[in-house]
């Protein structure tokens, strides 16, 4: 395959878009971390008399319907949104990657079983899973994590399996096989390091998707619950103030857009750099 020339150029660095993405992702992470120790106001302290104030010197982004400081809430909201997404994707990868590796290493009925499990998990849209989990265990951030993680398992299993199958055909693996190494050892020592780039890229994309999913769930009232603050939760609370204070709906939405945009740009740049093959169609993807 002949590579488009521009892509070859970009592989040396992240490129301006990639750096922008990295900067946004870092900024969001830093804000979330900062909110642990400092926010302009306590994000959960209510002052009903101060409710729905517009931007001012004390409240740069105004206050919400309980008189809480919107800027502080946005900062604290980043924390929950990021934490939920990272944990959910981490869980999904933690279960999906081994499944994918196993399927690629063993083939046969193991492969078949993993793929059937994937079909089953894919058959339930993430929102439906979340609604069921919520009905079962009650709403909350933990259940949002569960639902998003469940959705991520088959994604990682598929991507890992596909990429790993490609590695298994390489000569050096054949050599290792001939040297008598076990399939599990080969998977861990040779396959996993070689598909790491692919997984990191997929991970970035999945975190972006998870942020959107968390927002959607919380917007529907199925995700984070008070007193937890998340961007989706803020959107959920703001929807009845759409006409009174559209700012309250616009700001968390913008925060989500910027964060997801940043993560996606970073993911694309990483893909160009780490894994030029990802753009290619894989029949088993």
């Amino acid at each position: 395959m002949r590579e488009p020339p521009e892509r070859r150029d970009r592989r040396r660095g992240l490129g301006p878009a990639g750096w922008f993405g990295a900067a946004v992702a870092l900024a969001v992470l830093a804000t979330a971390a900062l909110s642990l120790v400092w926010t302009p106001h306590d994000p959960s302290v209510m002052a009903v008399a101060e409710k729905l104030r517009g931007p001012s010197a004390t409240h740069p982004l105004g206050t919400d319907h309980f008189g809480r400081d919107t800027l502080s809430q946005l900062m604290a909201g980043a924390r929950v949104s990021i934490a939920v997404s990272l944990i959910a994707v981490g869980l999904g990868a933690g279960l999906g990657v081994p499944l994918g590796l196993l399927a690629a290493a063993r083939r046969g009925w193991v492969d078949e079983a993993v793929m059937r499990f994937n079909d089953l998990a894919f058959a339930f849209p993430v929102l439906l899973t979340a609604v069921l989990i919520t009905a079962l265990l009650g709403p909350g951030a933990v259940n949002a994590i569960l639902a998003i993680a469940l959705f991520n398992i088959p994604v990682f299993a598929r991507v890992t399996r596909g990429a790993a199958l490609g590695i298994w055909t390489r000569p050096f693996i054949q050599a290792a096989r001939l040297a008598g190494r076990g399939r599990v050892r080969i998977s861990l020592d040779h396959v996993l390091p070689n598909i790491g780039g692919t997984l990191i890229v997929q991970g970035t994309i999945q975190v972006a998707l998870a942020i959107l999913a968390e927002a959607g769930l919380s917007y529907l009232g199925l995700g984070s619950q008070p007193p937890d603050i998340s961007w989706g939760r803020m959107l959920n609370e703001s929807q009845t103030f759409l006409f009174l204070a559209p700012r309250l709906a616009l700001l968390p939405g913008l925060a989500i857009v910027v964060t997801v945009l940043g993560l996606n740009l970073l993911g694309d740049a990483l893909r160009d750099r780490l894994d030029p093959r990802l753009g290619r169609p894989r029949e088993d993807a």
Partner: protein, 513 residues
């Protein structure tokens, strides 16, 4: 390929594609520009907005207030009816006599009443309706309303005799509930999806998930309503409710779900905003089975920790009347007892110390059902309890879970809920069966007296005593009376401003101009 050759072709391809996109965009714009149908031009119909869709349309087989809000007084009528001010008026019974011992009611029925399917309403239908409600396999959600009824027989086609096992002063009121409306044997089983009643409006169709359509019944026995048709639309999302009103898709929202949107709508001359009363006592329910909530000092401490004003301002945007006991403040027998549980954090802390509870050592669960009064109110109450050293762990639940876990399972510490049935102070005599598990023989004695007392003044005195007992025992945190906040087109007249029962009676509604 040379650059010079490639550019024009690429441009051709490009412009072709641009044309495609423009075409696609035009299609979209054409769809977008399609004019919205203007609101029904002749002002003889109405589009009513409701938050909840009823699960079905038979008020005698379900508790959902949404059923009554669609069909009560519009499609179905009872022997008596409850008017907008809460008084009991004759309905399908023109009048009734009570025997001296209060044990026999004789109802004289109207003779000119037809069901929507054309059959006549007679005493036999009335017997059938009552019998169906009290039968062993009855699925009437308020079977208790009929508990005193021993038998119901038709003396002739238009005279109904109801014999009671014990005197029940409230019988005519009870028979005015939606759960006691008159149905016909032919249609009783299908009323859930295709209700057939005797009211001024008949059921046309139900687009599940969206709306119910009604139109005027030409053979109605009473005065014909001004409206020829009514559509009830179900809009669960408060933002969509406001948008629907603003965009003119909905003419009236008799129970506006978002109190915060009222000030803006009030300022808009297109709308009338009405704030009235309901029978909904909103309480912070406490589980008396769970220590330390069995300790009256702890319950009083919680009551004193609550700042009702801040709660009403924060959760209800100022709409709502504080209550000091489980009784509607607009009822003539109501006594203002709010001072017994005035906001007093110091007192609350002292009471907790007295009960041997160190600050910060008490953690209670706070189960919150979906309505915003509960969810928002819960957030505020949790913050207020924190100020006196009680940690409230907020647990949002759906109604299904609330009913299962809190109401039936008694597995909770605190919960916020509005009791919307009229005159439901008697739930406090249900003792350990009921979810808060309050037991007080004195209170039960007052209730027993009430059941047999018919004199208005004596009843008021008994109600007053009952209210005081509940307030003194700090059975629950008594928060506020749920307001009826309605918004409608300023040209509409005749919608109920108060809500003595859950209903949207359209018989008197008309457009001006």
């Amino acid at each position: 390929m040379s650059p010079t050759a490639s550019r024009p072709t690429a441009r051709n391809l490009g412009s072709a594609l641009v044309a495609l996109v423009v075409a696609a965009a035009c299609t979209v714009t054409a769809t977008l520009a399609d004019p919205r149908p203007a609101r029904a031009a002749p002002p003889d119909s109405i589009v009513l907005g409701m938050v909840l869709e009823p699960p079905h349309l038979d008020p005698t087989a379900g508790a959902a207030g949404a059923i009554d809000e669609v069909v009560y007084a519009n499609v179905f009528e009872g022997l008596t009816r409850i008017a907008h001010d809460g008084t009991v008026l004759p309905g399908l019974a023109q009048r009734w006599d009570v025997s001296d011992d209060g044990l026999v009611y004789t109802f004289h029925l109207r003779r000119d009443v037809l069901f929507h399917d054309g059959t006549a309403f007679t005493a036999d239908d009335a017997v059938f309706s009552l019998q169906r409600a009290i039968d062993t396999d009855s699925v009437n959600a308020q079977k208790g309303l009929f508990a005193a009824i021993d038998s119901a027989v038709a003396l002739d086609g238009y005279t109904l005799i109801v014999a009671l096992s014990h005197p029940q002063a409230l019988l005519p009121f009870n028979l005015g509930w939606g759960d006691a409306v008159m149905v016909a044997p032919e249609s009783a089983d299908t009323n859930r999806t295709a209700p057939v009643g005797t009211g001024p409006f008949r059921f046309v169709r139900w687009v599940q998930g969206d709306r119910v359509e009604l139109d005027a019944f030409p053979d109605y026995w009473g005065e014909a309503p001004a409206l020829k048709a009514a559509t009830v639309r179900f809009i669960p999302d408060p933002a969509a409710a406001v948008a629907g009103l603003m965009a003119g898709d909905v003419d009236a929202f008799p129970n506006m779900p978002a109190p915060e949107s009222l000030p803006a709508l009030e300022a808009d001359p297109r709308f009338t905003v009405s704030v009235g009363t309901t029978e909904g006592e909103t309480i912070l329910a406490m589980n008396h089975r769970r220590p330390p909530l069995d300790d009256i000092r702890v319950r009083r401490a919680i009551a004193h920790a609550i700042d009702r004003r801040a709660l009403i301002d924060g959760a209800m945007f100022g709409y709502g009347t504080p209550i000091g006991s489980h009784f509607a403040p607009h009822h003539p027998a109501a006594v203002d007892l709010t001072s017994l549980s005035a906001h007093d954090p110091e007192r609350a802390k002292a009471l907790l110390a007295e009960a041997g509870i160190a600050p910060g050592s008490l953690t209670l669960t706070l189960h919150l059902p979906p309505p915003s009064y509960a969810r928002r109110g819960g957030e505020i109450i949790a913050a207020q309890l924190a100020e006196v050293g009680i940690t409230a762990k907020v647990i949002p639940v759906e109604w299904a879970q609330w009913l299962d876990q809190v109401f039936r399972g008694h597995d909770y510490d605190l919960s916020i809920v509005s009791h919307t049935e009229p005159l439901d102070i008697d739930i406090y005599e249900r003792g350990d069966d009921y979810y808060f598990g309050y037991e007080n023989p004195d209170f039960e004695a007052v209730m027993a007296d009430l059941r047999v007392t018919t004199d208005t003044a004596a009843r008021a005195a008994l109600y007053g005593r009952a209210q005081r007992l509940l307030a003194e025992d700090a059975v629950n945190g008594f928060l506020f009376q749920l307001p009826k906040t309605g918004v409608w087109d300023a040209r509409l007249r005749g919608l109920w401003t108060n809500s003595p029962i859950q209903a949207n009676d359209l018989t008197g509604v008309s457009w001006t101009e």
